[in-house]
Symmetry: C2
Subunit: 411 residues, 2 copies
Amino acid sequence: MALINENYLKLHGSYLFAEIAKRVAKFKGENPDANVIRLGIGDVTRPLPDAIIQAMHKAVDEMADEKTFRGYGPEQGYDFLIEKIIKNDYAARGIHLGMDEVFVSDGAKSDCGNIQEIFGIDNIVAVTDPVYPVYVDSNAMAGRAGEIGADGKWSRIAYMPCTSENNFIPQLPQTRPDLIYLCFPNNPTGMTLSKDDLKKWVDYARANKSIILFDSAYEAYIQEKDVPHSIYEIEGAREVAIEFRSFSKTAGFTGTRCAYTIVPKEVEAYTEKGEAIPLNKLWNRRQTTKFNGVPYIIQRGAEAVYTEEGQKQIKELVQYYMSNAKIIKEGLESVGLKVFGGVNAPYIWLKTPNDMDSWDFFDKLLNEANIVGTPGSGFGPSGKGYFRLTAFGNRESTEEAVERFRKKLKL
Amino acid sequence: MALINENYLKLHGSYLFAEIAKRVAKFKGENPDANVIRLGIGDVTRPLPDAIIQAMHKAVDEMADEKTFRGYGPEQGYDFLIEKIIKNDYAARGIHLGMDEVFVSDGAKSDCGNIQEIFGIDNIVAVTDPVYPVYVDSNAMAGRAGEIGADGKWSRIAYMPCTSENNFIPQLPQTRPDLIYLCFPNNPTGMTLSKDDLKKWVDYARANKSIILFDSAYEAYIQEKDVPHSIYEIEGAREVAIEFRSFSKTAGFTGTRCAYTIVPKEVEAYTEKGEAIPLNKLWNRRQTTKFNGVPYIIQRGAEAVYTEEGQKQIKELVQYYMSNAKIIKEGLESVGLKVFGGVNAPYIWLKTPNDMDSWDFFDKLLNEANIVGTPGSGFGPSGKGYFRLTAFGNRESTEEAVERFRKKLKL
């Protein structure tokens, strides 16, 4: 008799976005003429920059000719792309990586979800609260999370609350964690860690033989100087950190799919008997066994991000969204709302007025201003009383949304 | 202290293709002028058909325009592609599938590797021997394979030998299996099951509450009538089978990456307490949590496979390779070699002369005829004394290879 993985039954449904869709559908049914503006989901809306488009056309043509056709590529990605990543995203910041420390993939979601496979089941996982759900769910599926409580917290996950009280900087949990997921600039709060803040985590991991799983999917949005783009800017991080990067938000690749993960040769974890094992070797084995690489055409598109034109165009793209972020942030502040993020990230995390429940604020915003956002409580218990807006809309609707906050929302 | 998944340490290295590369490099070093023909690896060489090229160019252009740009798509794949798959690959054979029973992915390797995640650790896995290594390795990584022996066999995997003695038809193993991997047309042997053969497995799975994981990546190569293209041609298979399909070999997508997996609503596995759980729900949860869909551009390319032009062009592609297969098969038979496969699959599985060791034959073929193939023993103990050639080369080198078998190989 075939048995299922019963850990799957412990998971709650993907309640958040389904519930949002349901409430929006109901509202639109009752208000068919309402012009609803969606600032809820974290998906880009601007077209791909021209340098990328041209590179992909060229690659498509190569696939049409026997002489330039490409079959299976290296599972880890083509050298032409890895070289550009190392040179532009790392060497330019004084970080030196080997060619076999970069693993190109189809998405940071895949890598963040799959990375836990190379670790033992008994590790204690720490996550920030609020949090990107993939870190938690992928560990729960593997049996590393224990049981889920009525408050939505798993018994074997260590949660690190990030709220306005601690300026959204996670503190060490009471249980000593083995695997620590950090995402900065943060989704959903849009807040960052300084180099000093991040150094404390690296030092902690080195002292305790923990591993930091560092998601820097939003690094391209960093505007301020002291905010680290890569965890490897911190001394010693090569011994304890794996870093996830993506072209999704950097270059508009959410529907084009390319990302990469850095696993330095020095990062080690341990057998039960205490033998140190390089994680690079394990991740390479995982990827070569269960993955067959990113399409050649897409890798050529990603490579074009690093041309002179490409760099100029993706910077314009990021600035477009960051101007939206500024418009939202300043607009909301002008009506007296308390707002976080939006400076080094495309996310605005607002405190609901009078500690209103996140879902009540969702309904109020939808009904009074016809704007869809995301209730903070959907990202974890410490998101209660918060609300996320994203800067990924177009300029016109972003400005219109702010206008409605000013004129229609009864605060 | 972070612990690793120690199951990874039990795996042997990807010895086979590394060892081939090493021996070829050594030979070429010593024989710099030799014109080596590679019929070893199972990778396509013909360019992508024009219908697919044109569809991808169009999709690239759509990504350049705000009005047609695509961000995140459904993790399960776009409806436009799923509809075509259902209509052309299944309904045309009398098989009816729901839209939510098809999961588009980046490759059959990913799906074959990931599918085991939704099953419990205590299931007994059965595989044919010889076998595509991903089925075994992915289960070993999850801790389902036990320990590996000196003969390369895992203690908790049930092996089903497929040799000329049983006409390459797997027999039920002595241990009752819960998860049964079947790949037909088979890689590496190129052999098939008839509908009656396959029905025995479906009946067995229904009687024993086992699950069949059916890899039909090579179905497009089937030429004979009685060979099933899909396991769902067999009555009752919807209750017990998951099917993997790929555009890799069908349409030349090995470097373009698109595949799909069918999980019918009726397929169920069980909790320890005996409760039946639909696997469709579990696989959907796995994919939505750890995967973010196939690039829009690539899905449009796959869709074009189903246009009138596309169908015509991929049939030509398959016929090109199958003509190669016929040339190899007949050529080898003409020099007295015993040859299997090559009729409904692009693989030729030959018995080495005088039961020569697979690796000895590899060296002989390389030295005498300058041809690279794959030693059968690399696919499992029952591959000993066999050797794989593939039909994926171009016509000229395939004909030249056969000529060398005739004239240079000392049999």
